[in-house]
Amino acid sequence: MACIEARGLRKAFGTTIALDGINMRVEEGRILGLIGPNGAGKTTALDAILGLTTFQGQLRTLGRDPWKERDQLMRDVCFIADVAVLPRWARVSQLLDYVGAVHPRFNRAKAESFLAKTTINRTSKVRELSKGMVTQLHLAVVMAIDARLLVLDEPTLGLDILYRKQFYDSLLNDYFDHNRTIVVATHQVEEIEHVLTDVMFIDRGRIVFECSMDDLESRYAEVKVRPEQAPAARALKPMYERQAIGGSVLLFDGVDRQQLAALGEVRTPGVADLFVAVIGNQPGRAQGAAR
């Protein structure tokens, strides 16, 4: 059974189409990065997956209809919607008491041991904590829940680099194992690149690109060529070209690396480079960007 399976997922707000027929399948044990520009439909897609919004089309999360069975689904699914959603009036100990009482899979001891590594005081109220500490607290709560699917929507937005790094490190080291699935939506690509097993690009309500990180390494190559080599390189039909100091950088899909090595220095492109190439090539995108 796939963890998430969507076919023809659509959602419109009035005349604005947020999701325009999305097909996706996320297998268990993957860490998927859902990457897209602002307003691409990331949050709407995640809301639908989590049963927070109605949708058209077919969608199954852990084999359930998320809208109809949200409360049952939440026994196996956890999500961090945004850094600022913990109730500000609550004390840390109250939050732990409450989650422990209503969530059958919450392990209080685990949450306490995560918190022990931070400077968060049990008697503090959420409103007294810094933004980074609130995220640490939320992560401690979520990581102590033995869920099958964890969904994170821009979890590190507005945090400084230390907290961001810590966040993904604890996620990877203390939480992830191959029985769990994690979906992370963000537009800060570089930070999560090393964590992911799969990437998916979403643009204007459509999935425009999907690839596993293993395939990405074998399929895509980036070559930096000197101006005189450029015509020869262009003949190999790059999917994207950008200017760099002392030449151009060309991105190729499925071209033999040895052939490229003759032209210049070959490396595996970063997800960010690929993202720019794929989104930049979308019909209508260039026009929009020029405006």
């Binding site: 939440m74 196996d76 899979r105």
Partner: protein
Amino acid sequence: MNTQSNAIPDTPVEAQGFAPAVIPESRILYWLVQRELWENRSIYIAPLAVAGYILASTLIYYFRQAGKMRAALPLDPMQQHEVFAQQVDFAALLIMGTTFLVAIFYCLDALHGERRDRSILFWRSLPVSDLMTVLSKASIPLVVLPLLTFAITVVTQGLMVLMGSVALMGSGLSVATLWNQLSLSQMWLGLLYHLVTIHALWYAPIFCWLLLVSAWARRAAFLWAALPLLAIAIVEKIAFNTSYFAAMLQHRLGGAAEAVIAPGTLPMDPMTHITPGHFLSNPGLWLGLAIFAAFLAAAVRLRRYQGPI
């Protein structure tokens, strides 16, 4: 199965293949109510503060009385008792009025505040249904506050009686007369009856209407709660030259006494007529409860559809 997974040995659920675990609904409801009390401390602080003021004022009253007695002003015992009975009634009235106001403001914010501060997204990440959440919020004005009012009033009046007794003993008057006249148990039974019938059952549709508005309104929940009712009454008056709707509202808000207690007595009269037959045979009660159920269902549905504001 275990031989394969070398991941985290200290999580047995892993090995059980995520067997579904269920927490009883009653336990969830208990913790939901607990959560409301954590968040809205005014639920108990406001009536406790009023009770404190009443007791302090009563204390001042007796100190003044003691001063007068030393000045050799004779006190008519009957008069003294009458003043005393009034004070005790007034205390109950004040505490009840406070919790009624608390209930109104609680309801207007109950399903609005969580959307405003986006914490609804956190609550929804937990396996708690919208029905249970709304039920827990409705139980605050309908169950928690009436019971709390009863407890605080009983303790306050008890302390007042104690103070009065001490003062009477000091002045050499008979304490027994006072106790006979008051008949505390009947007074408290009457209070409980009043709270259950009027504050919980008769006002239930009002509280639930406020909850519904708080689930629906994006801002100014108070206005949205009041203006549509006013608008309906005005339209009815102008278009049909009738005022059934306004009369109905008035009956709901101000007619509680007639509904609960047989004509000719006051609801605040401590021991008089507890007439459940009269109350239960009032069609207005059942109509109100039907409206309450409809509003509750609508609020549950809205809680599901509405996101953060």
